[in-house]
């Protein structure tokens, strides 16, 4: 029997779903007449807000026609979107109209993993949660409650839980995403790249993308600037095992063997150093340990890198010289989803070092110095000091983790070490799709006394919850102020443009009510969130009414390049760019990155790679009917010659079996020239197993399900997920 059919399919019962299926895309059915009556009857209203289909938080303007949400466009005042959203932002209307949304709070009626729920009132839900939390606190201390939260919406819940007394809160955006990158750059420059990234793509004359698949990865500003760079004739160099959209724009496309990027990076640096092409002045002025670094590069010749990477030595040299020619306006993009092979912080460090050689940090066309507005935090009472340190990284096992590790909390929940974790709050993160090895997640969940999931739809993680709290979608709520660190300072407001279709509530309301139920009401001195906004904005010398009307307030632009006088300072121990890292050496790691081979797929198997579709965000948009209409299942990309050999044709269904014998849901083959023969590729986020997501249930396959193996980064605890191998089984021959 396959592990697939053994899985429990979780769903939230149809009783919670009150809307008939088969509604048109822009179905108005989810709006009750009573709600419609509350609205202005006719005409088009345009209300500024910010997008939340991903975490870029673009400024948007929603149009409401005759009281019904019509469309969402970019806010021209917004520096992030520059007046244009990405396809997901444009399709955000579908989130409001989704007929599968959660409507009322639910409490589990039987054991976890079974589909039986009571609909309860909000008060009942909070009373239940508070009782459990008090019990956990009494038995294990407040630190035994942890929060997983992704996105700005979790801010108030964080506040409530800090008030409750726990330090354990994590987002998958660290250990499953950009963590290694930030660690690699911190170790080198003493600073992060940030999100939005401080990359000056639009002014780059040479842009190097190592797997960053801009154009599919639709982080709006990045893509817009990418198009600007391409339009300006910038030289684009792309290293990717797959001929990505970005590769289609590249002058040099390097079809690199997966997992060997560090070898390529070392060889590039070797060429720059050996040929004396690096920015000598910059390195002399800002560098630390360059001599030792240069010495260690000696053996990493292009000839050495060739058999590893499959990239010919002359191509490595030509591209290195090209980078040098445009320095310092050469940007070697640091990537974002960097958790690939477990040596990711070191690979990211190599990217940082390559940029350092080119002098791009601080330069136009490289990395600028972002600015933000000074909007003071709300003056809350002091939080109680947790009695124990965070649970995720005992004894600093991962010495360079500067954020909380989700998978560390998960491990502690399983083992009870360094101390037990008994309660989880999960806000806007589908842990079963986001964390590697879902069996571990399920195992941890089985150890819990309380699992509260706050979601908008009956997702996989909601299926495991004890209490499900239905949130209103971003178009129906306020969230915390977005004080962005970007090219120019600004503050942006997310505010409701339509009413929620049921009893859904915004996170701030839930967080406040929960605090009050817990007896922590004094942590919420404000009556409602608008009072909170007004307070903070006034403190910053701004007017809430103006922000409300415009959606965005911009501060004065300041210089962002070193050439314009921004001081280059480095928060490293040496105060310089650390070409050679004593910190790493002391901790027992390579002070200069060293390439080590990764395990390769056995004969007949392929490395499983995954990435983004421009029209979906992770696992959260497949149920959005507008976006599902653009792409409603994923495909498995297979090299055309391989497909011929395996007698597979585009459009045929196969299942993937991984090294641990996990069999995926069926997925369509895309036989294509656009990928290497040693790997296969799919878009992340499909293959939903939550039945309540009626439209997307079992459409396509889930990469997460096949990521049973992961390589943990010893520096910072990131989970490299590109280490799984699969074989393809034609659907017809499966018994």
């Amino acid at each position: 029997m396959s592990s697939f059919t053994r899985r429990k399919f979780l769903k939230i019962s149809a009783a919670t779903v009150t809307v008939a299926s088969g509604a048109a895309v822009l179905s108005k059915h989810s709006v009750t007449p009573a709600q419609a009556a509350k609205r202005p009857a006719t005409g088009v209203q345009r209300i500024p807000t910010t997008c939340d289909i991903c975490f870029w938080k673009c400024g948007a303007i929603a149009s409401v026609r005759d009281g019904v949400l019509w469309k969402i466009e970019g806010n021209p005042d917004d520096p992030l979107s520059r007046g244009r959203l990405c396809p997901r932002g444009t399709g955000g209307v579908g989130a409001h109209f989704d007929p599968d949304r959660l409507r009322r709070p639910l409490i589990r009626r039987s054991d976890r993993g079974r589909d039986a729920w009571h609909e309860v009132s909000w008060d009942e839900a909070f009373a239940y949660i508070a009782k459990k939390m008090h019990a956990i606190k009494a038995a294990h201390g407040p630190e035994a409650v942890a929060l997983f939260s992704h996105g700005i919406g979790g801010n108030f819940l964080k506040h409530t839980l800090k008030a409750f007394g726990t330090p354990n809160m994590a987002a998958p955006s660290f250990a499953q995403c950009r963590g290694p990158r930030d660690t690699g750059f911190r170790l080198t420059f003493g600073e992060d790249i940030g999100s939005p990234e401080r990359t000056d793509i639009k002014n780059a004359q040479c842009l190097v993308l190592i797997g960053s698949h801009l154009g599919e990865n639709m982080h709006n500003s990045q893509v817009q600037e990418f198009a600007d760079a391409v339009g300006n004739g910038a030289t684009v160099i792309v290293a990717d095992p797959r001929f990505s959209i970005a590769a289609g724009k590249a002058k040099h496309y390097l079809p690199i063997k997966p997992g060997t990027d560090l070898a390529l990076l070392l060889a590039w640096m070797h060429v720059l150093v050996q040929e004396g092409l690096y920015d000598k002045e910059y390195v002399a002025k800002h560098g630390f340990g360059f001599e030792q670094f240069a010495a260690r590069l000696a053996t990493f010749t292009p000839e050495w890198a060739y058999p590893e990477t499959g990239i010919a030595p002359d191509v490595i040299r030509a591209t290195a010289r090209e980078m040098a020619r445009h320095k310092p306006a050469t940007l070697v993009h640091p990537g974002r989803h960097a958790t690939w092979y477990g040596d990711d912080a070191q690979r990211s460090r190599a990217i940082a070092l390559l940029n350092a050689l080119l002098g791009s940090w601080g330069s136009k066309g490289g990395f600028y110095t972002p600015a933000s507005m000074d909007v003071p935090a709300y003056p809350y009472p002091a939080y109680p000091k947790p009695a124990r340190p965070k649970v995720d990284n005992p004894d600093h096992r991962y010495p360079f983790a500067h954020e909380t590790i989700t998978t560390g909390i998960r491990e502690a929940t399983i083992t009870g070490k360094p101390y037990p974790v008994k309660g989880w709050f999960v806000y806007a993160t589908n842990l079963l799709q986001a964390l590697p090895n879902e069996q571990e997640t399920i195992k941890a969940i089985q150890n819990l006394d309380l699992l509260v999931v706050i979601d908008v739809v009956p997702s996989e993680i909601a299926g495991w919850a004890d209490v499900v709290l239905p949130e209103s979608v971003y178009l129906e709520r306020h969230d915390d102020l977005n004080v962005e660190l970007f090219r120019e300072p600004f503050v942006a407001l997310r505010q409701p443009v339509v009413e929620p279709p049921g009893e859904q509530k915004p996170n701030w309301w839930m967080a406040k009510r929960l605090a009050e139920t817990l007896g922590l009401g004094h942590f919420y001195p404000w009556k409602d969130i608008e009072e909170y906004f007004a307070h903070r904005l006034t403190a910053a010398g701004l007017r809430y009414e103006e922000l409300k009307a415009k959606g965005i307030l911009r501060g004065a632009a300041a210089p962002i390049y070193a050439a314009d006088g921004v001081p280059l300072t480095f928060e490293t121990p040496s105060g310089k760019i650390e070409f050679y890292s004593p910190q790493l050496e002391q901790a027992g790691f390579d002070p200069v990155p060293v390439y080590r081979k990764h395990e390769e797929p056995p004969p007949g198997a392929f490395r499983l790679l995954f990435g983004r579709s421009p029209v979906h965000t992770f696992s959260r948009t497949q149920t959005n009917r507008v976006l599902a209409d653009m792409m409603d299942e994923n495909e498995i990309w297979v090299n055309a010659d391989v497909a011929r050999r395996l007698e597979l044709k585009s459009g045929e269904y196969v299942r993937l079996r991984n090294q641990d014998n996990v069999l995926s849901n069926r997925i369509k083959v895309k036989a294509t020239q656009r990928i290497r023969p040693d790997c296969v590729y799919m878009v992340h986020g499909f293959g939903h197993t939550a039945k309540g997501l009626r439209h997307t249930y079992l459409k396509g396959a889930s990469d997460s399900q096949l990521v049973t193996r992961y390589a943990t980064d010893p520096l910072m605890g990131g989970t490299g997920m590109n280490v799984n191998f699969v074989t393809l089984e034609p659907e017809a021959t499966r018994v």
Binding site: L26, S81, L214, G215, K249, Y253, P614, V615, R676
Partner: protein
């Protein structure tokens, strides 16, 4: 007289489909149908590949077979900008126009009439760009009067290499792709 057309820069286009989504919400295009779509045109063999990405839709042809073949006059050339439109109230849904379009630009709306891109004439007449053009995050789409030599579309055509789709089909398309 104006002659509206589009100039789309395939060098900048990333095939993100924002233009498709925007058309959908702007024009309430029914589920399962699209007035515009993306073509990813890949030539060569791995790893020596070339890719042209095109946002495609009705070409508002100068010689529109869909108008010529329509037995009711529902398909017509609009006075403003020579935009090819369908008068939904006249259409009997015979699909002749669907068969006559070499680009597959038309479909039958579930309500029974032929539908396709209108160049967002309702917006254009208000002085706005079509929805797809106005949202495109890469700013790769341009809309304007081809007969006006000073319009953005005309100057782009004068300064850049370009092509149309299936010119051999003889329809004289008015959407141009910069390469």
């Amino acid at each position: 007289m104006s002659r509206y057309g589009m100039v789309i820069d395939t060098v900048r286009c990333v095939g993100c489909m924002d233009c498709v989504v925007a058309c959908k919400t702007e024009n309430n295009v029914p589920e399962g149908f699209n007035r515009d779509w993306i073509a990813y045109d890949v030539q060569g063999e791995f790893p020596t590949l070339q890719m042209e990405i095109r946002s495609e839709r009705c070409n508002h042809c100068d010689a529109p077979p869909c108008v010529y073949c329509c037995p009711t006059g529902a398909s017509h050339v609009h006075d403003v900008g020579g935009v090819v439109l369908v008068d939904y109230d006249k259409c009997i849904g015979c699909k002749a126009c669907v068969a006559s379009c070499p680009y597959g630009a038309r479909f039958i709306n579930p309500e029974g009439y032929a539908e396709k891109c209108t160049f967002c004439i309702h917006r254009v007449e208000e002085g706005l760009d079509p929805a797809c053009v106005s949202v495109c995050p890469t700013h790769c789409m341009h809309f304007g009067d081809l007969d006006d030599p000073n319009s953005e579309v005309s100057t782009l055509l004068a300064s850049r290499r370009h092509h149309t789709l299936m010119p051999e089909a003889g329809t004289k398309p008015r959407i141009f792709y910069l390469t």
